[in-house]
């Protein structure tokens, strides 16, 4: 019995999906596309098995369904980081690009979610801070930021600005560089306006409380408060509640997300 070509062609057609978040690579003259939201995939079953020998061996890759989504997510992250670095390289000083490369490695290690990688990521983060100072740390924070639907500050603010500058002055790379570097310096100077709760001991918490109230008094509302790991998140929540008691005209919004294997939270204090 021959192969059911009509059925094969049918699903091949279906699988040729295009998405703006696709990751594209060439392996042995063939292109592989991983879709960020889901793998373009056919689940392996007995029918597939019958076809596998004749058709799939040279045309398809095989992957485990339980790790596919995470692979896709990580590939997307790595890919977008590389694209970012490539796109920003002509417009940023070498030190900032160095910090960006180191920060993207930290992010990738954190996202591997195993203890050895976590240890390495912490060491690398400490090195990054030592080598590039607070500027390097801010670049890492920006790469880790979540502004809108999982997009970072780079994707949602910096890259669109660069694209716009390039469109405005398509023949003058020096002008683009001048405009963009001033913009990037400004972003770094004013980011983060957030307050980080990274130490749950009472003295440190009191300092954070005073800083938040200070920002509110100076009318720098909304104030964002970030915390990572359960202990710090609980501490941050308590501080925010104390602030709300002192200033009832304000209200709190809370957004939880994950950073590597840690749970993280962003509290935003806004006017009612």
């Amino acid at each position: 019995m021959g192969l059911p070509w009509a059925a094969i062609k049918g699903f091949l057609k279906k699988l040729n999906l295009f998405d703006k978040l696709n990751v594209n690579i060439i392996i042995a003259n063939r292109s592989l596309v991983l879709n960020h939201s889901k793998f373009n995939a056919l689940l392996f079953d007995e029918t597939t098995e019958k076809l596998a020998k004749d058709l799939f061996r040279y045309q398809f890759g095989f992957g485990r369904v339980d790790i596919a989504e995470q692979q896709s997510e990580l590939a997307y992250l790595s890919y977008t980081h590389e694209q970012l670095i490539k796109a920003l390289k002509p417009y940023l000083p070498e030190s900032d690009i160095g910090a960006l490369v180191a920060a993207s490695t930290v992010v990738r290690l954190e996202d591997k979610q195993d203890p050895a990688s976590k240890q390495r990521s912490q060491e690398l983060l400490a090195n990054l801070r030592r080598a590039y100072g607070s500027r390097g740390r801010k670049i890492y924070n920006m790469l880790r930021s979540k502004v809108y639907q999982g997009a970072t500050i780079f994707h949602s603010i910096i890259m669109p600005f660069l694209e716009e500058a390039k469109k405005t002055y398509p023949r003058d790379a020096w002008k683009v560089r001048g405009i963009f570097s001033a913009f990037f310096d400004d972003i770094l100077r004013y980011y983060p306006r957030a307050i980080w709760v990274d130490n749950p001991n009472p003295k440190a918490l009191k300092r954070r409380y005073v800083r938040i109230l200070g920002r509110i008094t100076k009318e720098q509302v909304p104030v964002s408060v970030y915390a990572r790991k359960t202990k710090c998140i609980r501490a941050a929540e308590e501080i925010c509640e104390l602030v709300l008691k002192a200033r009832p005209e304000l209200q709190l919004t809370k957004e939880t997300y994950t950073l590597g294997s840690d749970i993280a939270c962003m509290f935003t204090i806004v006017k009612k």
Binding site: L21, I25, F60, G63, R64
Partner: protein
Amino acid sequence: MVNHEPNLITGPLKSKDEMRRLESTNMVLFRKEDVDRVLSALEIPAQGDLILDTAGEPAVCHTCGCDIGKSNLGNIMPGSRLFFCDNPACLATYIAQTKT
């Protein structure tokens, strides 16, 4: 001169040429318990838990170099010669490094 290539970060794909560049080869996904069936369908030999490559040597992960067994097999790439373990970062690293 700065290269002003269209990028895939900030916007949707626009031109038909860009669409054409993204021809896809696909992944057939399998459940962990179906490893034996996948291996036999692809005629990939195994010795106990260990998977063997075309030279009869134990297959290793292309990225991290660990031995690939039935229990930690993550991916087999088209051509059945390239293997990845079940650490999601391994395939992802390969993809990031070999992207066009």
